[in-house]
Amino acid sequence: MVLDSKLPEGPIAEKWEKHKFNVKLVNPSNKRKYDIIVVGTGLAGASAAASLAELGYNVKAFTFHDSPRRAHSIAAQGGINAAKNYQNDGDSIYRLFYDTVKGGDYRSREANVYRLAQVSVNIIDQCVAQGVPFAREYGGLLANRSFGGAQVSRTFYARGQTGQQLLLGAYSALSRQVAYGKVKLYTRSEMLDLVTVDGQARGIITRNLLTGEIEQHAAHAVVLATGGYGNVFFLSTNAMYCNATAAWRAHKKGAYFANPCFTQIHPTCIPVSGDYQSKLTLMSESLRNDGRVWVPATKETAERLRKGEINVNDIQEADRDYFLERKYPAFGNLVPRDVASRNAKLMCDEGKGVGSTGLAVYLDFADVIKRTSAEAVSQKYGNLFDMYAKITGENPYERPMRIYPAVHYTMGGLWVDYNLQTTVKGLYATGECNFSDHGANRLGASALMQGLADGYFVIPYTIGDYLASTPPKPVTTEDPAFAEATAAVQSRMQQLMSINGTRTPDDFHKKLGNLMWEYCGMSRNAEGLRFAKQEIQKLRQEFWSDLKLAGTEMEMNQALEKAGRVADFLELGELMVDDALDRNESCGGHFREEYQTPEGEALRNDDEYAYVAAWEYQGDNQPEKLNKEELTFENVKLTQRSYK
């Protein structure tokens, strides 16, 4: 299959406007004849479900949580970008577009990113109208702050809880449509398969997580807004339930999976404290506005510090290495995430890491506290400082935070065209679930922007183009494809329950996570990747012969839920390794040790690898087929990224 990204013709600034005119429309009285399934109720899902219902479509919204408001978008801290230029500091749609393409290390689609920058301004208007309480200045206008990879202040925020406030806004819009009867809400329902009829998405199979019942749902189109797959790594900043199952099941039904090896390691997370650790906690990137990153200048000082012979506050300025400010004077502590993460790792590899494990660097607020006051700092970052103190038992107002990179976001995801449609007709993917806008590295405060752009301002236009060519006849679950998919899901549940081995789902998940972090994490090499591939295959076999569960599949069974997700991670993990092996270059979050500049920066190979790797499923335990979408850059010049 030739990948057709359906990019509109014409100058970049006119593409979206033109496209909106060219897509087919469904007339208002026909909209009520179409049913749309939206899976996931985070920013991308709730905004899509609400907006589609407002247009008149019948929407069924699914979440495995007890309430739509629990989706992991809620945990996003720092903010949301928009090219409003309220600060009069030189921002524009073009600059946001340019920063995002550059930040993504030139592995994203220009047209998609430009559209994202265009609609970013509408998102802020929409959210304010919903009653989202963004931070404001004394004059009553909206406040902004800076984020990594940008030299303007374009990030809107609500203290350190921006994701929460935006999600509650989208949740309120969704709730309104539930009240109107235009959205039917299914909570504690997990999508376990996609149903296709004649190559078109026609519905989904879900499991009711309270009763264990397997249910069938039909619709004219299906939208997946099911988030990212960072939990492949076991330890990540993702919530515990985040998983890849819905996207992976769709992949096995024909949706190509794009750039799976592009994972983002966030530089500022609270370090691991022990092997009981269940997840990692992010400290927002916004902290790098005021916090200064450093390690002791010498190995010897770092060692004495780790042994407790000296105290961090006793280390003199001259004995500290503010390594980001030293190496990247133009951007300093606000370099993009991949650059900051790699440099932190580099310092620790050189033996200059701090904390008992030596796997941490400092993020220091002493300067800003001296310059302003502890109270002013608390106003800005209070909840983050409290969270840090609760988790570590240390007071960040008195001593610097210890931070270390952790898996945070996945740029890869289901391949979609300009309409956000996957390679399965009638199946769409929005938000982190798709691959489209961030290339090989996402800039801070751009995930919220993309989730809401897709849901509020893209999918409501583009889905009509497909529906208009689909007859408005009622859809049912009578097609044999539904019965087949249901039987497959049931038999898989029974298979998992009947293995009766000795090891728990978490045990396998931790092993997989270790392999992925070690060999497909912050830096990768061909030898390590080949080793990981073999080990993952072995682990997958062990899983299917030695898994231990309890209870039955016909009741609430959280270990069974986890087992199904781990089974899918064990397959996706191998594809991530394959993708990392295929990409013989370094770009953004994908750092292959064999390909670096003399200064240790990522070395791209634009001649051979300026493509999107879209993987096509070929059957269980078969190597997947690589399809390439060549990326062309007409507006941004490909250069070695420099933040110096």
Binding site: S51, H65, D66, S67, R69, R70, A71, I74, A75, K84, N122, I124, D125, Q126, C127, A129, Q130, G131, P133, F134, A135, R136, G139, G140, L141, Q161, G163, Q164, S172, S175, R176, V178, A179, T187, L210, A239, M240, P271, S273, G274, Y276, Q277, S278, L282, S356, D386, M387, K390, I391, G393, E394, Y456, F457, D506, K548, A550, E555, M556, Q558, A559
Partner: protein
Amino acid sequence: MAGSNPNAKPMNLTLKVWRQKNRISEGGIVDYKVKDISPDMSFLEMLDVLNEDLLRQGQEPVAFDHDCREGICGSCNLFINGRAHGPEQGTTTCQLHMRKFSDGDTITIEPWRAEAFPINKDLSVDRSAFDRIIQAGGYVSINTGGTPDANEIPIPKDIADRAFEAATCIGCGACVAACKNASAMLFVSAKVSQLALLPQGHVERKTRVENMVAQMDKEGFGACTNIGSCAAECPVGISLENIAILNQEFLSAKATSNNLA
């Protein structure tokens, strides 16, 4: 180890945990022992240890709700030693760490107890009543698109800040669990005040408060008797001031509107 007290020793604990098969069956307290618990573990990581042990022995793990483990999603909801979210002020269960306990402690763990929050299994309860209250009016009735520029209506910073404080409610239900009447007033008032404070919410303020209060009553939550245990136990510090605002909004709506009988 990372904590404030690097010399703190692992702990052995006795847990008294509410177990209940499903919504209709009878439940009861079951005793478990957990060993070598690090003071740096979170409370839920301690339960993970228990559950891994149970599963390895072929017993059903304890069901409980949790997700972000960062104190923001509002999923976790344990009643620990008689207190919603346990002994630490202003903290969700997932952010409670074992350094707050001592070796040899006995810890009682129960689900939220309220008629409006039926038990699903063990420690997991059904809080969909909260969703239905929001569906009754916890929004501004605008569609996507066509909204004015975000800076068109300036909002005084102190008003925006107060609205934000109210809007930080995580919907965990600790206020209901802590209240002797199982009242949901703090939850409802947080949303009512957020939208009453902001100009965007003014258009519908009367119908909103009437509909949300009516739904709250319908769900079977108890009445508010101004004791304040809700605010005392709220993990994100939602203030009682919001209940005062709700009462004012409600009275003024009832006195001036003919929206509801």
